[in-house]
């Protein structure tokens, strides 16, 4: 490793340092505001180093990580998302009877794990990043440990993540045992040259996909999702829904990119089945869900299913679609959960549909933000989600994945139903007496100005990109162009 390499990996270093600094600062001076500021400062610095790294053309740093345009794109996405989560967490944590400073440390280490994931080109870095992320998340989910729900969620997540991690490692070992390679490039060759007789390799790949599928909450590894989304504190849910999924999907693309080349291959079929099941089950499960957090959890299952469709469509355009859709999905999800976070109180999270009754009248701005986010999730025009869905349809059509594309179309209609249920709750006058016995937390929660400002800015981003996606699309195309497309 040379000094030049150090500059190239400066984003990783900056992020690590930030985590250390925040931890040390918390040890010396317990100040919530300070912790937040340091966190944001560190994340901003990390973001800044991206430009430094981008200006250098050194690529691979050791076998383990590669700091190419693809990596930088996703590091930028992840750090930005983390910063947003941090801002949205502040008000939420401030009203809870917990010590909030370590929260930011955990957030930063988790992000470090995610960043390692997107940069990794080797099983070792892959595994390391995944575990840093996971272990941080266990603690984050249980952060409000006085709430039994949080503990329950954390335990479930821990056990299931541990088990699926074991699958992942076992799969890696099998693949390694058969092929002798653990690098991303090697994996791509393995996948590209896969023949049906290589049973052990195939088993290994499938077990590897179990680990990935768990993190992405794809059917049938999705069972944890609603429970963890519901049990975890709202900002943590935001994080679980965004950073961890984004990082893992970026990795998936890098390691298994040639899967899409052969539509008859075993791994392709497995993924196609998983995608179809995810779209179908995710959307159906959300159908009449009254808990907004659970509903968003189910919808996330479906969204990841859409993403897999794009993943399965070969080609650079499809890659750009994935990258773009990840940006769209992450920003939209942060916005949606941001609203949940903002409306939550010390007692409980604003997770029931009834909490949103009449929000349009009580808090018009927040309601408008949520509406835009939901419309974006539903993939309607003027929002980034529309462009994302369009790109996926284009990608799927380009690869002639007609079954999956049509399934996407049909199941996303089901999505309209449950997204609009929330919108209806916010704007349509409730029948008399329906709200009896239910307090509306949104009415009492103090409005954190930075949080609301963040949400409005995010909304502006969703809309602006929805109307003029060209810059972001160019960026995404540039990012995926470095991958070795067939």
């Amino acid at each position: 490793m040379t000094a030049a390499d150090l500059l190239t990996v400066s984003p990783l270093i900056a992020l690590t340092l930030t985590a250390v600094v925040v931890m040390l600062a918390a040890a010396f001076r317990r100040s919530h505001a300070l912790a937040l500021r340091l966190t944001l400062g560190g994340l901003a610095a990390t973001f800044g180093t991206l430009f430094v790294a981008a200006s250098r053309d050194a690529r691979a740093v050791t076998l383990l990580v590669s700091m190419d345009a693809y990596t930088l794109f996703f590091i930028g996405l992840l750090t930005a998302t983390t910063a947003l989560v941090a801002i949205l967490s502040y008000q939420y944590l401030a009203q809870l009877p917990v010590q909030p400073e370590e929260y930011y440390v955990l957030l930063l280490t988790a992000t470090l794990g995610g960043v390692t994931l997107v940069a990794s080109t080797h099983f070792a870095a892959f595994f390391l990043g995944l575990e840093i992320l996971s272990v941080s998340l266990y603690a984050l989910i249980a952060y409000t440990a006085r709430r039994a729900a949080a503990v329950e969620a954390a335990v479930k997540y821990l056990v299931l993540a541990g088990a699926t991690s074991a699958f992942l490692i076992f799969g890696m070992a099998l693949v390694y045992a058969e092929t002798g390679t653990m690098t991303a490039a090697g994996m791509r060759d393995v996948v590209a040259g896969l023949h049906p007789g290589a049973v052990v390799t195939i088993i290994g790949l499938v077990m590897l996909l179990v680990g990935v599928g768990f993190k992405l909450a794809l059917v049938p590894f999705h069972m944890w999702t609603p429970d963890v989304y519901e049990g975890a504190p709202a900002p943590v849910t935001t994080y679980v829904a965004t950073v961890s999924k984004g990082a893992v999907f970026a990795l998936l693309l890098r390691f298994l990119l040639p899967v899409s080349a052969d539509q008859g291959s075993a791994v392709f079929l497995a993924l196609a089945a998983v995608a179809a099941a995810s779209m179908l089950a995710g959307n159906l499960l959300a159908l009449r869900q009254d808990n907004v957090k659970r509903m968003l959890a189910y919808s996330s299952i479906a969204h990841l299913g859409y993403l897999v469709v794009a993943f399965l469509a070969a080609g650079e355009r499809a890659g750009a679609a994935v990258a773009f859709y990840l940006v769209a999905y992450l920003t939209t999800t942060v916005t949606a959960f941001g609203v949940v976070t903002v409306l939550s109180t010390a007692d409980r999270d604003a997770d029931h549909l009834l909490d949103y009754r009449g929000l349009g009248a009580r808090r018009p701005v927040t309601a408008a933000v949520f509406t835009v986010a939901l419309l974006s999730l539903a993939g309607l025009p003027l929002t980034i989600g529309f462009i994302g869905k369009f790109l996926i349809v284009t990608a799927g059509s380009g690869a002639a994945l007609w079954t999956l594309v049509v399934l996407l179309v049909v199941t996303s209609a089901v999505g309209l139903y449950y997204y609009t249920r929330v919108i209806v709750a916010m704007y349509v006058r409730a029948p008399e007496g329906a709200q009896a016995g239910r307090t509306a937390p949104g009415a009492r929660a103090a409005t954190g100005a930075p949080a609301v400002f963040t949400l409005v800015a995010l909304t502006a981003f969703l809309l602006a990109t929805g109307v003029y996606p060209q810059p972001l699309l160019r960026l995404a195309e540039h990012a995926v162009s470095v991958l070795p497309w067939p």
């Binding site: 025009p381 003027l382 529309f386 284009t394 380009g398 179309v409 139903y417 209806v424 349509v428």
Partner: protein, 546 residues
Amino acid sequence: MILLWYVLIPTVAAPLAWLAGRRSPAAARWVALAGTAAPLALVAAQWIAATDRLSAAFTAAGPGAAGLAAGSWVVDLRAPWIDSLGISFFVAADGLTLIMLLLTFGLGLLSVLCSWRGITTRVGAFHFMLLWTVAGLAGVFLALDLFLFYFFFEMMLIPMYFLIAVWGHERRVYSAVKFFIFTQVSGLLMLVAIVALVLIHGRATGVYTFDFTQLLGTPLPAGTAFVLMLGFFAAFAVKLPAWPLHTWLPDAHTDAPTAGSVLLAGVLIKIGAYGMLRFMAPLFPDAVAAFRTWALALGAIGIIYGAVLAYAQSDMKRLVAYTSVSHMGFVLIGVFAWNELALQGVVLQLVCHALSTGALFILVGGLQDRIHTRDMARMGGLWRVAPRMGGTAMFFAMAALGLPGLGNFVAEFLILVGVWQVSRWAAVLGAVGLVFATVYALWMMQRAFQGEETHRLSFPDLTRIEVGMFASMIVALVLLGFWPQPLIVTARQTVDGLQRMTAGTALVAPGADASTSTDGASGGPAVTDGAADTGSAPATGDGGAP
């Protein structure tokens, strides 16, 4: 650039109306009025200014940019949008567009007027949604880039959804969601078809573009073309709505606020016909021809089924909604007949149906505001209470049943005579549909306005605003009934162009040619090689017209 204003004015007026609504409801109404009246004036001015151009004989030939450059298009504007996908902000207007824009803004204006008293809650937001819908509609009719078209096509669903769900009647949420899901699913199917077409075109030529004029004439295998055509058809048939994809419409119309119903029936469902005319048939003429029999059957079933169901309703608004199903059946068979007579009839029907059904919705809405019910079982004998209202209702009931002397008759006659050339039984069923139309129209009159007045209702007759609205619509319909020529002239170049684009395909049967018109007027099959010389000329550009 003038075309951009049609989208921009309502778009800008929408948030203004919302803001104004925070001050006072009246302010919001006036802003909305201005936001629809201004583009209406603009499009009327452009229409008048373009008269010479429109009435000139069709000069150019052939599909594609050549046809566009050759005078049938009034103005066009092309700006890059999403370059990397071959998507541009490409808007243009020809005669058909102008007609649709007139309709959009005219009915937009009426929607504002008819909500003047009926809407009292969240007035600002209401007008925001209304103007947003209008903006989206204008965009739909202007777009020539398929992505842009789809963009607007989907976009205006959102405000319409809110209009129904928030300001609607009893089952507003159910109806709004149903409307939303129906149109979304079908729209997405169309999107898939669009994308597939673009990809096929791209693979064949190396140019990936959503530009409709370039996509024309993409060589497609018959099977592929048929499937893609079905994708388009799904979207437009839902919008239209064609039987059996119509079930969202009665619900949506019934539960929408009056303004919503007017826009829905007046303009929104016209997108279905517009899309078939503008995009589906020129893109897939042979597939459309192969689908003709089925589509005619669906249309004919729709005519009768809609009329019978209209008869069976006791909710007056629902009755009117089902009449739309019936009338749009005419449009469907007209489009698929695809000869000049039928197409002109379709265009005329779009306008006349918008006026007559729009008026009926305004009337029912006004009635509901007064007596708080739409159930005809609770009406009866209202003529005695409100004779002007009764007379107005009678007039529009007659329009609904296609009485000669009103525009609807000319439209339906042209459609049927055009359809007759292609399929006799479809034309006959359509004519039988007129008998059923008589049944439901008169039955509605009897239950609401005639008979004994048993419910002791008493309410004011038409207000001045209402009299003004209805009078303008009545005059327009009578005018169209006796002198529809201005509209026909306006649409003529479009219709000619469509005929030429599809000349030589199975859609325009050489045998049927003689019976329509082309032999008399302009003679012989379309000259497609003329495209070459005019094709080199650049598109007319912004400066070409006012």
